[in-house]
């Protein structure tokens, strides 16, 4: 029943999600009173094969607030000057001697699962492959919705962007399907729509959804708008107009007064900085929640 590794969103049952949220609330209190030393004999290693300072800092800060210590790689691809391409299994079997948990970000889908297969210490997946998993992001997204909307039942959520490659969107859609009376909207250029496997899962679970290629008529009614970035280079037509997918103060006017806008960040042009000061802009609060949710997840694997 204990959580050994955190590899994919599918591990998280409803009771475990509720346990996570309770721990997250506790972590807020712990940080407010200056952190804890409860885990001061624990060492966490961040093994990042793709640099991501924000995600790395989020985990490392979480570990520090828990009282622990951090072994850090900014760019593990330059892992060794002697050999290129050591197997992830060998690397993990060595690094696990030096720490009590490994947070791994890797360019290959499934890398975290392979790592977990050989590791005597907990593996936490901080993103593997563009089509892979990023469960801690999905969980902090879910917590943010819960914290902002005070419920997860009965919500309407719109996802916007390059949904075919969006691992956070895929994972979050999966997690949301566990809740009652959810309605999902997937808004993307046709060539970047969400893949059928997710839709099949939603059909199985009886979750209502709609595909669209414009925000018109949808953003007016949703509780949550989850915006992501579209890489213009991926579009077949360089003149494709992306502006209907962007959020600016005009789009904001069409949204409900108690809705929220989320984004996994970093953003490019898809949310105007003018939106930041609106109380519905939840993306910086979302990033802040990353600290508490990751503290909660670390405490779960250490306490397991």
């Amino acid at each position: 029943m204990a959580v050994k590794h955190i590899v994919e969103s599918q591990q998280f049952t409803l009771p475990r999600i509720m346990e996570l949220f309770e721990r997250t609330e506790l972590m807020k209190k712990i940080v407010a009173r200056g952190g804890t030393r409860d885990y001061d004999n624990k060492i966490m290693a961040t093994l990042f094969y793709k640099p991501s300072t924000r995600t790395r800092f989020s985990f490392e800060s979480a570990m520090y607030r828990l009282g622990g210590k951090v072994l850090s790689t900014e760019q593990a691809t330059e892992f060794s000057s002697e050999i290129k391409g050591e197997s992830i299994e060998d690397t993990i079997q060595i690094i696990s001697n030096y720490c009590d948990a490994i947070v791994i970000r890797h360019h290959e889908e499934g890398a975290a699962k392979r790592a977990a297969g050989v590791s005597p210490v907990p593996i936490i997946n901080a993103g593997d492959g563009s089509g892979g998993q990023h469960p801690t992001q999905a969980l902090l997204d879910l917590y943010t919705i819960y914290n902002e909307c005070k419920t997860l039942d009965g919500l309407s959520v719109a996802f916007i962007g390059a949904l075919d490659q969006g691992r956070t969107v895929r994972s979050l859609a999966y997690l949301l399907s566990k809740f009652d009376r959810i309605k999902l909207y997937f808004i993307a250029p046709d060539e970047m729509q969400i893949k059928p496997d997710i839709l099949e899962h939603l059909d199985e679970k009886g979750v209502s959804y709609q595909l669209a290629n414009s925000t018109e008529g949808i953003l007016e009614r949703v509780d949550v708008c989850y915006q992501t970035r579209i890489d213009k280079d991926r579009l077949n037509n360089a003149n494709f107009d992306l502006s209907p997918f962007n959020i600016d103060t005009n789009v904001l006017k069409r949204m409900k007064f108690d809705s929220i806008i989320m984004h996994p960040l970093p953003r490019s042009v898809e949310i105007s900085p003018a939106v930041d000061s609106d109380p519905r802009a939840a993306y910086f609060r979302q990033a802040h929640n990353g600290l508490y949710v990751r503290m909660a997840l670390l405490s779960m694997v250490f306490d397991a």
Copy 2:
């Protein structure tokens, strides 16, 4: 009155400089007895867009001696694998969730000020742009002069090198102008002389100064010789003779017995290693002072 951010030398009034020097003396005592744990619930992040191991280690060591924790980037340009060129404002709004102070080094002039404009936690400028500010270097330089010469009034100080681009020279000249009966010498190839804005400031403050393109007749009389590096590639004439600007044991003979030689380091050929063993060579002591001054500055922003 409290110091929130440390962005530019101009923030430091005479009383604040004196407070800093008192705190610096205290920090020497604290280090001598093995450091303190007073700030053990604080996290400092070093966000270095240009690598500088010496400056980064200086800050990180200061934080450790204060009992605190460190989030570190060696090369933040590779900030994210997903997007190039996120705005400094967005980056700071996220990173500030994970720490209690951010030390930033950036290639763009004014980056630290922009960061301070949006940051809920203190920003400390560790150098922004070649023509920008590097206030902690200027303050440790000023402290070194004070500590070596036991006064800051009535001193003669010569600056040597590519003074048009020397942000440490500019900031230090500015700070020295606050003291009485200062005499400054700016020794550089004509095309690299100090820029008029600094001279205008000195005129306003009634500080006496002289421009020169040779050390002859000047180094014989100064209390402080502040040497910097000249990048030979910048000279229009590749055959330009830089040797009159260098310091070796012969030049040393011309200097006063109680004068000092400073350098922000790293050095190239402009100070001969044979000078190192002379008691007037103060540059390694200057680097050491960086630890204490940065501890003092960190304590000032945390106590504010």
Copy 3:
């Protein structure tokens, strides 16, 4: 008598090796009970001019388990954006202000010795140059043999690989020559055989040895098989068959039931992953010992 710097294997006399092994046993107990805080006012800097995450993490974890703090470089070649090629002496004289010990890995043979020549704090050589020294690796290798075989006297040890460039092999052969009735085998393609200086040393010490270019008839009788990697690009003949130097389950069948296989890692094809599950595969235990031996070495320089 105290150990100030750890620069080369030759420093380690038999009594000192025994002291190291006793401290190593103690460190195992300390880690088992969650580490110590005895060195919590100490800062160790890792100055790695060549990246090696495994060696760096091994030292940093050792320092954390001792209660200390860590200043870290992943790739110190990008030491400064301002100047390329500052002398190692200048760098050390500055960095030593910020820490209590410096662990250095450098591409130039002799770099650690030069660093030790100017450093007021202990220097620990984590590998300098491909033909240079890597004393902490040699010591953990020696400890592993001692720990696995319960003695260092009377052992037969085979070294396999590109022995001309193998600094760990050279250092370990040197250390083994201190013990009684040692028999060494050097198995390599002729063009990569061990260099004469080591053989001369063995002759002087009266150590028995044999050169070979096949494992046939040798692996059957050794207590320790120390495998290393052969870089195929270095062979004059691209069609040279390296398979006789590799270890797979068939080779394993020829080895004694109580022998061990070691490797400094990372490995390429020279040991088949199928060998890993055999109890004689000692290379992951060897990596684990790196933690305890490095803790012991750090405690020796801090206690000196």
